[in-house]
Symmetry: C2
Subunit: 109 residues, 2 copies
């Protein structure tokens, strides 16, 4: 929270974006897209989620600017609009590892 001051409005917008990442299904969709552009069906195939479900998640991620969309004929191609998402995930993974280390340390003592 450096540049923007945390007014209730900004807080809500930031929370909304964290919430979008706070869903296993959406994280695995984003993880899929790491390899590059994919159609909806390919994401469905890769994740094992239902088609309508994937479509809804992609709409949400698109609305928040996490993914980009390109339509070509029958197909909709989705891709990461913001590679920095994974920086967020990396940081969160780092936290997680530190947390698990701390917990193990606590158990050992």
């Amino acid at each position: 929270m450096a540049k923007l001051t945390m007014t209730p409005e900004v807080t809500a917008l930031v929370a909304e974006r964290f919430k979008a990442l706070g869903e296993p299904a959406r994280l695995s969709i984003l993880n899929c897209l790491r390899g590059g552009e994919m159609t909806v069906s390919e994401v469905v195939e890769a994740t094992g989620l239902g088609q309508a479900n994937v479509s809804k998640h992609l709409q949400l991620l698109h609305g928040l600017g996490f993914v980009a969309r390109r339509k070509d004929g029958l197909f909709a191609y989705y891709s990461l609009a913001d590679k920095h998402v994974f920086h967020l995930c990396d940081l969160m993974c780092g936290r997680l590892e530190a947390e698990l280390r701390a917990r193990r340390k606590l158990l050992a003592s």
Copy 2:
């Protein structure tokens, strides 16, 4: 997602942590604690949230290792266990700003 591979289990753990930050009330509690250790009542006062509500949010944040707890007499002092949380928030704010810029640009064209 550098070190850990995104197994369903890891994905769920990461999502759980993002979800914790995906709540305006919890973000403002964390923002409060930026200034240093606070009692529950002080957080209640500062945020305007209800006491039971704050207590629950703090339990959750504590369970996930975001805040530390110290009990002294009647009071429970909570503090940030992980200053890096704000790095996450900064990144998300950066995304938000970029997103808003892009949207403005789109409207202008």
